[in-house]
């Protein structure tokens, strides 16, 4: 009523109301007139079915693409800032920028390398061991999907998603030789490593015709949902090789070298956990129920592993440390990576718990027994956790979650497919061999070409000043 009164009071508004009424009537007439037309177009015609099919496919493609682009960004977040902070907090103050730069450099260098030849060597058509050069400079990697890999997302989405894995994998190695490697040597080492270790391994497990590919008819189908062998075993084992080859840091283990900021490591580990949802659930390559399954398994394993490591530490040292809890979570995330798309949530809890205790033992006991200086425990967490996770995948994989070997076929040992455990061992064994041989060869080349280590004086002064000419912290600045 109040509105009507206002309308009467204002002739302008009254005119508008008249216009609205007229338009409404006109619309109603149109609807009545078009009713028979609508009925006609809902008839089942081939054209209409084709149109609906096209619309459905587009909708699925858009949904999958949205999740995959998000996942790609999440995996990049794991490198910088996630891993950079995690590792950065664990080194001494004088090396924080040097350590963070080692990861950040991968974000730049591996990206360029991926565009030129890395993607092609990993995912292009080729042999059982390595891809070819057909996709060099991203030729033929367009916006149309590549059905062999992911039928519903643009090939470029798949390419850029895989790139994020290629970035973080070499970055993980840097934890083993932290605080003592020359930046120039690191760059050359990583470029060669990406070409000679990462690309072949990624091709064998995930590439068309790869030796270990479970989905595309490999000779030894090895289950690796998100990169247990490709990412964690290769980086972890290579890390061990580099730690032994380079030798200990000056003063290790006599000089105390505690982490300079567990707070930074804490933030980094939490970002890793967050980004890992893109790493594992994204490896479903679609936004459907398999992504959910991997998401849940990932989260559960991380939680159980934090408890496992924390409890082991509590028993052994009398206190559960923050660094222990976050290290445990990362170990659980590593171990669940190959299994994430194959196991039930409850078995994910078991995998996490076992990994948390196992990696604690590797880092605290085994490292001390052998005396190598794996400075930030890249091997103890990624090499050991990745190997364990790959084997456990063969035990716990379940065809109800993911019938990757064919509908109704037993997948893991608990289902009765003992052969899968053997295949997992073959996959892990090949990853170990490729990593050891490849890394040793590259280290030898780079050491003779450039020299791997900084001078003893430079090591004492720190990588920040000697390699980059700057300092991470200036507490005295006004």
């Amino acid at each position: 009523m109040a509105m009507l009164k206002r309308l009467q009071a204002n002739p302008n508004h009254a005119a508008k109301l008249g216009f609205l009424l007229k338009t409404g009537l006109l619309l109603a007439l149109c609807l009545v007139a078009s009713a028979p037309l609508l009925a006609q177009s809902s008839a089942v015609t081939p054209e209409r079915i084709a149109a609906i099919e096209k619309a459905t496919a587009a909708a699925q493609s858009n949904a999958d693409n949205a999740w995959m682009l998000t996942s790609a960004a999440l995996v990049l977040l794991m490198s910088g800032p996630g891993l950079a902070l995690f590792y950065g907090g664990l080194v001494r103050k004088k090396n924080i920028l040097g350590t963070m730069m080692q990861t950040f450099a991968m974000m730049a260098v591996i990206t360029v390398l991926w565009a030129i030849v890395g993607y092609s060597l990993a995912f292009g058509d080729g042999m059982a061991f390595i891809g070819g050069l057909h996709n060099a400079f991203l030729q033929g990697v367009g916006l149309a999907p590549d059905p062999a890999y992911a039928a519903t997302i643009p090939a470029q989405t798949y390419m850029v998603y895989q790139l994020m894995f290629a970035i973080i994998t070499p970055a993980l190695i840097t934890g083993a030789f932290a605080e003592r490697v020359k930046f120039s040597a690191l760059l050359v080492f990583m470029i060669l490593w990406a070409l000679l270790v990462y690309s072949p391994m990624a091709h064998m497990v995930w590439g068309k015709g790869g030796l270990l590919n479970a989905a595309l008819g490999g000779r030894f189908p090895c289950l690796d949902f998100a990169g247990g062998t490709v990412v964690h075993v290769t980086s972890g084992v290579s890390a061990l090789v580099t730690a032994i080859y380079l030798g200990k840091r000056v003063g290790y283990p006599k000089l105390p070298m505690p982490p300079h900021s567990v707070v930074l490591s804490f933030i980094g580990a939490c970002l890793l956990w967050f980004g890992w949802f893109g790493f594992n659930a994204g490896s479903a390559l679609a936004s459907g129920s398999l992504a959910t399954s991997a998401f849940v398994a990932t989260h559960f394993a991380a939680a159980a592993a934090a408890i496992g490591w924390g409890a082991a530490e509590w028993v052994r040292n009398g206190k559960p440390s923050a660094l222990g809890a976050i290290s445990g979570a990362v170990a659980g995330l590593v171990a669940i990576t190959p299994a994430s798309g194959f196991v039930t949530p409850i078995n994910a809890l078991w995998i996490g718990l076992i990994a948390g205790v196992f990696c604690f033992f590797m880092v605290v006991k085994v490292k001390a027994i052998f005396g190598y200086d794996d400075s930030l425990d890249a091997f103890g967490v990624h090499g050991a956790g990745g190997t364990l996770g790959a084997i456990l995948t063969g035990i716990f994989a379940n065809s109800a979650i993911n019938p990757i070997l064919g509908a109704g076929k037993a997948t893991g040992l608990l289902e009765g497919n003992g052969r899968q455990v053997l295949n997992q061992f073959i996959g892990v064994g090949i990853a170990w061999i490729v990593s050891i041989v490849g890394t040793l060869a590259i280290l030898f080349i780079v050491d003779n070409l450039i020299g791997l280590r900084v001078s003893e004086d430079d090591e004492r002064e720190g990588l920040d000043l000697t390699q980059h000419g700057e300092e991470g912290y200036d507490w005295d600045a006004a």
Partner: protein, 112 residues
């Protein structure tokens, strides 16, 4: 004039400061320091490695007061900084010959 130097637990700094103000002392200088007496240090564990930390964070405060305020200031510090456990710190007292205010060259007790 006397100089009072006290090494105390960092967590007791605020209480000591308040007690000194209450006792009528206006000037104080503090340093963040590290050290140990009979208390020695503690051990920390990072990923199973044990680190002995023998130099602990301490706060050192310095104040110069007139002779008649010295005992009051010492009592204020003792009362505020004491927990009764090892590591509470120490107080050192010494004579001061001269005090000079830079702003106007005042000398002696008036400069405090």
């Amino acid at each position: 004039m006397q100089k009072i130097e006290a090494v105390i637990q960092p967590s007791k700094l605020d209480a000591v400061k308040d007690a000194l103000v209450e006792a009528g002392i206006s000037g104080i200088t503090i340093f963040e320091a590290r050290g140990h007496g009979r208390q020695k240090g503690h051990t920390e564990f990072y990923r199973g490695r044990e680190y002995a930390v023998d130099l602990l964070p301490k706060v050192k405060l310095e104040l110069v007061v007139t002779d008649d305020l010295a005992e009051k200031a010492i009592q204020a510090i003792i009362t505020a900084a004491r927990t009764g456990r090892i590591g509470d710190g120490k107080i050192f007292v010494s004579k001061i010959d001269e005090a000079i205010r830079i702003r106007n060259d005042e000398r002696g007790e008036i400069a405090l």
